[in-house]
Symmetry: C2
Subunit: 142 residues, 2 copies
DNA sequence: TTGTATGCAAAAGGTTTGCAATGAT
DNA sequence: ATCATTGCAAACCTTTTGCATACAA
């Protein structure tokens, strides 16, 4: 909220509620999931407002859109550098913080004229739940 | 096309054309961009067919959906491990192949029950064109 | 009081689905 | 001849936009 005041933006109930809802979550929710979560505290809130506020928070740099092969936007309140475990089966995202992974030497991309700001690593594979499901279905199939 | 035959799937004109169009591109096109490109060779093709064929190719493992913060699916015909430069301004993606980046030791994720298959790194920053544009607008502003 | 945020409605992508007709094997 | 694929239309889901009203400063 300080961030809003710092930018001269009014602090509304909706902004407060959306902000708190998204910041406390670690499961990289979609805009719609935030909407559903927030309706408990602010039943009159509209879906559009949630989309707009999330967009604002991204612009202010308090929130990041995660890269994900699916076509729905997912939001991540963690601003410091970290990495992701992405499940190829269910699409779930798990945060991964490991100092060693933050220390990779940047490649030389001068030939592209590209200027690197930061990076993150996506490790792809199968999460615990999906591995269980596969095991079970194999058993049943026999 | 061998992949289609190997899976017992008919080889249609549409499949051939879409397959060839997407495989020869390095710019990570969207489904719609493929549709436009393909219409030159097969004007009667429908957009839905292109979507369906691209989906099939992903399922067959011949094509990958790239992770991207925007909400449109982009396709990448490169199957071997590689990494990406993602422009934060225009959303453009540049392929990056550097052996060193393929040799990062996988983190220990046994505590999550997660099984890693592979990984890729997204370097985020500004591409050459967007850096030029920023420079120019700064000049003009003064 | 002033100006921005909100809510509503409606539209705009991008993508998926159901079904009859077409086409590959 | 058989069965999957295609094309069409329409639906669907997520997200964006325009404008009058409500609200924070």
């Amino acid at each position: 909220m300080q961030a809003h005041r710092a930018n001269g933006l009014p602090v509304t109930i909706q902004r407060r509620v959306v902000f708190e809802a998204v910041m406390e979550r670690e499961d990289h929710p979609t805009a719609d999931q935030i909407y559903e979560a927030v309706r408990e505290q602010a039943p009159q809130i509209s879906r559009m407002t949630v989309y707009r506020i999330l967009g604002n928070l991204v612009t202010l740099g308090l929130l990041a859109k995660t890269s994900h092969p699916s076509s729905v936007a997912r939001f991540d309140p963690k601003t410091r550098q970290h990495h992701h475990l992405v499940c190829l089966n269910c699409g779930g995202i798990i945060d991964l913080e490991e100092e060693r992974l933050n220390k990779i030497a940047w490649p030389d991309v001068r030939s592209f004229g590209f200027e690197i700001e930061d990076y993150h690593i996506n490790f792809r594979g199968r999460c615990a739940a999906c591995r269980q499901a596969v095991k079970k279905s194999k058993k049943t199939r026999k």
